[in-house]
């Protein structure tokens, strides 16, 4: 822009507030120069009215930094929020995590009386759910050190293992071999897990922890890992350090009472 034009364009505002208000528009060039000189001079001398214009301009421009600051704050909050959410996800309580699994049965809530019994009883016992998820049980627990039993085990021993925090995977004997192996790979070598076939199961696979049960159709169902993660050890009624070793390793659906060769 050339000076005359620039001066000319600004002139009206200056003129409107300046002393030269009634100045003639016939001499644009000289008028503009004079006006700007006058403006500078008056501003330099501290004329209040003249200072208003620059303040107004800077107020308008400040939206830039404010928007930038807001963006930075929002960005920082987003990072903190994401990290917090991520960490929070990892710290959700196991009960909440279990209840969030679609299809899970929580007998501790729905039928607490069915899983209230914790007495040791000899001989065969009956349970209200199949496979059982809690109640009185045999004094012997089934070894649950990642044991993969290929024969049926006694409910009375398995329930005792659940009391110690084990997750018990059961499958219908007609489950395809590759799926049985898929389950066994999760169990083998992992303390507080055990698996066994369960004749007469109404679904191909059923998972048990004390007070909890989940039945699924396929070994690749992702809820299996969720169930194990939520309930293994956590569902223990005897804390984190109840043992899975020292139990009986024999199979068969008849319970072996202590002292009778179990």
């Amino acid at each position: 822009m050339s000076t005359p034009q620039g001066g000319g364009s600004r002139r009206p505002s200056v003129v409107s507030t300046g002393k030269k208000a009634p100045g003639s528009p016939a001499k644009p060039s000289s008028g503009a120069k004079t006006a700007s000189k006058t403006a500078k001079a008056t501003a330099g001398k501290g004329g209040q009215r003249k200072r208003i214009a620059p303040v107004k301009v800077s107020q308008g421009r400040a939206w830039g930094p404010i928007a930038l600051l807001a963006a930075v704050i929002v960005f920082a909050l987003a990072i903190i929020g994401y990290a917090s959410w991520f960490i929070y996800q990892g710290t959700i309580g196991w009960e909440e995590r279990a209840d969030a699994i679609p299809g899970i049965a929580n007998f501790r809530k729905s039928n607490p009386e069915q899983v209230a019994g914790r007495e040791h009883q000899a001989g065969p016992l009956t349970y209200p759910m199949t496979p059982p998820v809690g109640g009185n049980h045999n004094a012997n627990w089934q070894n649950c050190m990642g044991d993969v039993y290929t024969e049926q085990i006694a409910n009375e021993h398995a329930v005792h293992s659940l009391e110690h925090g084990a997750v018990w995977l059961t499958y219908r004997p007609d489950l395809p071999a590759d799926q049985v192996e898929q389950l066994a790979a999760k169990v083998r070598g992992q303390e507080k897990l055990m698996m066994s076939p369960f004749p007469g199961l109404d679904k191909p696979i059923s998972l048990q922890a004390w007070g909890y049960q989940l039945k699924v159709d396929n070994a690749s169902d992702s809820r299996i890992d969720e169930f194990i993660r939520a309930l293994r050890v956590n569902a223990s009624l005897e804390g984190d350090t109840a043992v899975c070793s020292g139990g009986i390793t024999v199979t068969g659906s008849t319970p072996r009472d202590i002292g009778t060769g179990g």
């Binding site: 107020q59 704050i73 920082a76 909050l77 050190m145 070598g189 303390e191 293994r232 350090t241």
Partner: protein, 205 residues
């Protein structure tokens, strides 16, 4: 309007509110960032070493009950009680770190090449189900020999895992326990080797 106050009250109030929120968020976040996370090596070690230890507890208690040599019975007692205590410490770490006893990562994923070290789902040095059955059924001197042989392997695996976490962590509690595991089990390997020599037997290859 813009006389004495450079910022309107609302802006100041908003800044204070945002500042407090940020402070609150950071205050919640920082203690959690400074403890090991769910996928950390420390958490993986605590989980896997608990499982590894639990088998040693089983073997130690078998030795306490079935060992013939008094040294074997005493070592079994020592191993079972010490390692069960350490399991308690490691499970308490996980609780303190607000983590689950079971992680989302596969076993041994925290250790470099750890997953290749798994044999049939078993962590390094762990006895197979068949070997555990053998041990449960062994009697007398046969038991003593098999126990020493299996425990040497078990300890070698345990030392290996302890060394791996010592390379990966500077958490003081983890360093203390892992150092104690490493040194204690190395010492016991020598004891088992001497016992085997006394019994005229050799370690497993």
């Amino acid at each position: 309007m813009s006389g004495g106050r450079r910022f309107p009250t609302i802006v100041v109030a908003l800044a204070v509110a945002v500042g407090l929120l940020l402070g609150l968020g950071l205050g919640w976040l920082i203690p959690r960032l400074s403890t090991p996370g769910d996928d950390s090596a420390e958490a993986g070690f605590a989980r896997d070493m608990s499982t590894h230890h639990s088998q040693a507890v089983e073997m130690g208690l078998l030795a306490y009950r079935n060992g013939e040599n008094p040294d074997v019975r005493q070592l079994g007692y020592d191993i079972a009680t010490a390692q069960q205590g350490e399991i308690g410490a490691m499970q308490t770490w996980l609780r303190t770190w607000r983590l689950n006893p079971t992680g989302t990562q596969p076993r041994m994923a925290w250790m470099p090449d750890g997953q290749q070290a798994l044999e049939n789902g078993l962590m390094p040095g762990m006895a197979t189900p068949e070997q555990m059955d053998q041990l449960r059924n062994a009697k007398g001197k046969d038991f003593d020999i098999l126990f020493c042989q299996l425990m040497i392997r078990h300890h070698l695996g345990g030392v290996h895992m302890a060394e791996a976490i010592l390379k990966a962590t500077d958490d003081p509690d983890v360093v203390t326990l892992a150092t104690s595991i490493k040194e204690g089990q190395q010492k016991e390997i020598n004891i088992f080797n001497n016992l085997l020599a006394q019994m005229g037997a050799k370690p497993l290859q």
